[in-house]
Amino acid sequence: MDSLRQQINDLLSNQNLGVLATSAKGHPYTSLVGFVVTDQLDELLFATHRATRKFGYLQEDARVSLLIDTRSNQSADFREAVALSAVGTAREVPPEQQERLLQLFLARHPYLAEFVRSPGCALCLIKVQRYSLVQRFQDVLELDFDAPHSTP
């Protein structure tokens, strides 16, 4: 695994929460979600209730972005914090993949078991098209899954 992939993998493995951006009718909307990444880094899972605004927005527009970062609310964050934006499309996990991905999600967030297994909850999968990694305030590197050489 090259160093950028490794760095993205480390960040996604160490963080539990990210900020999910959805949009509908031209308006963005952000929500804090618990997530987990799959082995190939190209898929991210999160769970939401079907009655939430973010799920409603997803029904109108599947395009999403998820921000994951290491800030600690200190001034040093400007220098030291690393932020990763994933851009892609989200959909509800199809039934044939439900159990496998549910197990993956719960291995990371066991305390969400009751929530994720309840009928009102939707487990969602973001198919990632691109990651942008920002560090040292302005250094930005990108990993593009749509590019021909991006296959791991």
Binding site: G26, H27, H49, A51, R53, P110, Y111, S118, P119, G120
Partner: protein, 712 residues
């Protein structure tokens, strides 16, 4: 070094790891008192368990669901039950299981054990929280003993402990529980002793029962009681108990058995009593502070089970009432009989007598006297309800804990399914309504009109209001019969062997009676409340007709008496600020299911008549008199919380989703609000509250703003 230690190895410095109860016994051992052989499991093991299993995170989620200050007792119990089930369904990590089993094998190869809580801070010279955590007596078999250890750990979060969470400083990150394992001592007599009587410092007190001391501690056996002069050890007062039973270990449990003829008479001989009295005074001398202790006599030897400083709980602490809700099976059976044969018929008889009085015929003076009598009766029966009927609900809890212990289901409320389906009076009345609806053609000259008038009077509605509701009833709104229930009942029966079954059956029966009475007794009380209201309406009618100064005080009394049984509504929930809206609220899951529909807020009985089929019923609390509306509702949202509230009980019968414990529900939600409710998770959504958002600025405007910023 081994973490699990016998008492002899512990010193005062170990207090934070092993808790006060364990350290007090270690100190007794050191000073040469006879105590049961014991082994202590430190708090570290509890912490390892939470860490290794991820249970700590789940506890945090459960405890963070709702502010405790807004919870009623039903909700506290629900939370404690869910937490207990997390411990029951989360096995020990293998390394910890091996560590504990090895220690138990070494010290207690085969004998039955007592497994006690020993929470740091539970017993100290300044505060006593005895009775908050659980202990288990006569536990046989390694598997059962390991399970009992998890149950003791779970009791760190018991409903009683949650009630005292501030004093205990209960926090997932900081709180922990040590466990004391003791050999079971089966004494012939047992009891407690206080070196100083609470009301007379020159006396000490001894209380004693035959059999295990647990009988005295849990209240199932009434003790003989002596007040003894501390100097002369002369008995100042002796009160004999009327006990006919004793608690003994039997069939791997503890059971009440009748006393033999030879066991009649005072529990302790004069000489045994003197030994106990001298023992508790010696403890006071040794520890330099008044002591209370638990003891047992076996084969002529006095053994100390526990000793701690005497502490008092302030009598004005209203949480003590909650402790009174924990009842034994024997007590619940007595309560059931009293409620069914005395209380409910008593309420109904008096209400029926009041109903026959034609109030308009009375003079003002007679009316005043009549209404005062009604108020007096209502106060009496409301107090009786509070004293006897509310504690009866503990039968549901008793069965719930018994069921969960035995079957360890994933869903901690699965047991409610076994309690459903009884002949609740509310359901019988609803059937009567449905039957009437099917026969009535909507005409005012119909033969059903007399029945409608009668039912309307019973429900406190006008006949045309009831008529409108009847026209909305259809055949579909029937209580649901679940196949699942039969399967669960079968599994419950199969779980117990022939020896165990009688007790399991008895606890199921008391659970069912308790579930049924929780609704039925309210209907009886409501009849009486309606008669008081009828009196009040007549007084107000006469006041409207002309000034009646003599009624002023009476009206005040009538207002004071209102809401006596209701819990206060939490403040600050009023929706005065139109800019502030709820988008999503979290309460308690009370009946499973999802529903989206418009809200109908019920603030008074008169609002009931406006209810339309398919609306979501929103209210402060579903009174039993309101339950007839439930079959029409798509869902229920209620301020009062918990699985045991009346609204939840009826909602489950009809398979209607219900979310309880939404603070200020009737204030926050308005008639016509579109709601989505999730009865699995206890959530209420307001999908239509997004409001209008500003339209996107045109690109050239954005450009201009950027240019302006650069120029500045």
């Amino acid at each position: 070094m081994r973490r699990i230690q016998p008492l002899e190895r512990l010193s005062a410095a170990d207090l934070p790891r092993f808790g006060g109860k364990t350290l007090a016994l270690a100190e007794l051992t050191r000073r040469g008192y006879k105590v049961p052989r014991s082994l202590a499991i430190p708090c570290d093991c509890y912490r390892d368990y939470l860490q290794a299993t991820g249970l700590g995170g789940r506890l945090d989620m459960e405890l963070g669901r709702k502010a405790f200050s807004q919870m009623r007792w039903e909700e506290l119990w629900d939370a404690a039950l869910r937490i207990r089930n997390l411990f029951l369904t989360t096995p020990l990590p293998p390394s910890l299981e091996t560590e504990i089993s090895t220690a138990l094998d070494r010290h207690f190869p085969e004998q039955p054990l007592v497994i006690r809580s020993s929470a740091p801070g539970e017993d100290s010279a300044t505060c006593s929280f005895a009775g908050l955590h659980d202990s288990f007596v006569n536990i046989r078999g390694r598997k059962e003993q390991l399970l009992a250890i998890r149950k003791v750990w779970a009791s760190l979060w018991s409903d009683r402990a949650l009630l005292y969470r501030q004093e205990l400083g209960l926090k997932v990150a900081d709180s922990s529980m040590a466990v004391l394992i003791q050999e079971l001592i089966v004494g012939e007599t047992s009891g407690v002793a206080f070196s100083v009587a609470p009301d007379n410092r020159r006396q000490l007190i001894v209380e004693a029962v035959r059999g295990l001391n647990q009988g005295l501690v849990d209240g199932s056996v009434e003790p003989d009681s002596w007040q003894i002069d501390r100097d002369s050890l002369r008995t100042v007062n002796y009160r004999a108990a009327h006990s006919s039973h004793k608690l003994v270990p039997q069939n791997g449990q503890v059971q009440l058995v009748p006393l033999r003829p030879a066991e009649q008479g005072p529990v302790l001989s004069d000489s045994d009593l003197a030994v106990v009295a001298r023992q508790v005074l010696a403890l006071e001398q040794d520890f330099s502070t008044p002591q209370d202790c638990e003891w047992t006599w076996r084969d002529g030897q006095l053994i100390l089970l526990q000793a701690r400083p005497v502490t008092t709980v302030p009598a004005e602490d209203d949480r003590l009432w909650y402790f009174n809700l924990h009842r034994s099976l024997t007590n619940l059976k007595q309560l059931q009989q009293r409620i069914e044969t005395e209380i409910m018929p008593g309420m109904e008889e008096i209400a029926a007598r009041f109903a026959q009085v034609e109030l308009t015929n009375l003079s003002d003076a007679m009316l005043e006297e009549e209404v005062r009598q009604r108020l007096q009766q209502l106060h009496y029966w409301e107090e009786t309800y509070r004293r006897d009927c509310i504690p009866m609900a503990h039968g549901i809890r008793l069965f719930g804990e018994f069921y969960n212990d035995a079957l360890q289901p994933q869903d901690p409320f699965e047991f409610l399914e076994l309690l459903r389906g009884g002949e609740l009076r509310a359901l019988v009345r609803n059937r009567r309504m449905a039957d009437l609806a099917s026969r009535w053609d909507g005409r005012t000259d119909s033969s059903s009109i007399a029945e409608i008038d009668e039912l309307a009077a019973e429900l406190g509605l006008l006949p045309d209001q009831l008529g409108r509701l009847l026209l909305q009833l259809t055949d579909q709104q029937q209580p649901q019969v679940s196949q699942h229930r039969e399967d669960l009942e079968g599994a419950y029966r199969r779980h117990f062997n022939a020896t165990e079954w009688p007790q399991a059956e008895e606890i199921l029966a008391i659970g069912r009676a308790s579930y049924r009475l929780r609704d039925d007794d309210n209907i009886s009380l409501a009849q009486l409340q309606r008669e008081v209201k009828r009196g009040e309406m007549e007084v107000r009618r006469r006041c409207r007709a002309g000034i009646k100064p003599e009624f002023a005080r009476l009206l005040e009394e009538l207002t004071d008496g209102k809401n006596g049984l209701r819990s206060p509504s939490p403040g600050g929930a009023k929706a005065g600020d139109r800019a502030v809206r709820a988008r999503q609220l979290q309460g308690q899951p009370a009946s499973a299911g999802l529903a989206t529909a418009v809200a109908r807020v019920i603030r008074s009985e008169q609002d009931l008549a406006d209810f339309r089929r398919g609306e979501i019923l929103v209210c402060d609390a579903i009174d039993p008199v309101m339950t007839f509306i439930v079959p029409l509702a798509a869902g229920i949202v209620e301020r009062r919380g918990g699985m045991l509230i009346h609204g939840a009980i009826i909602a489950r019968e009809y398979g209607i989703p219900c979310v309880s414990g939404i603070a200020g529900a009737a204030d926050i939600i308005n008639n016509g609000d579109l709601l989505t409710i999730d009865g699995y998770l206890g959530l209420v959504f307001f999908p239509a509250t997004s409001g209008r958002l500003a339209s996107s600025p045109q690109p050239h405007q954005l450009r201009k703003e950027l240019d302006d910023a650069v120029r500045q």
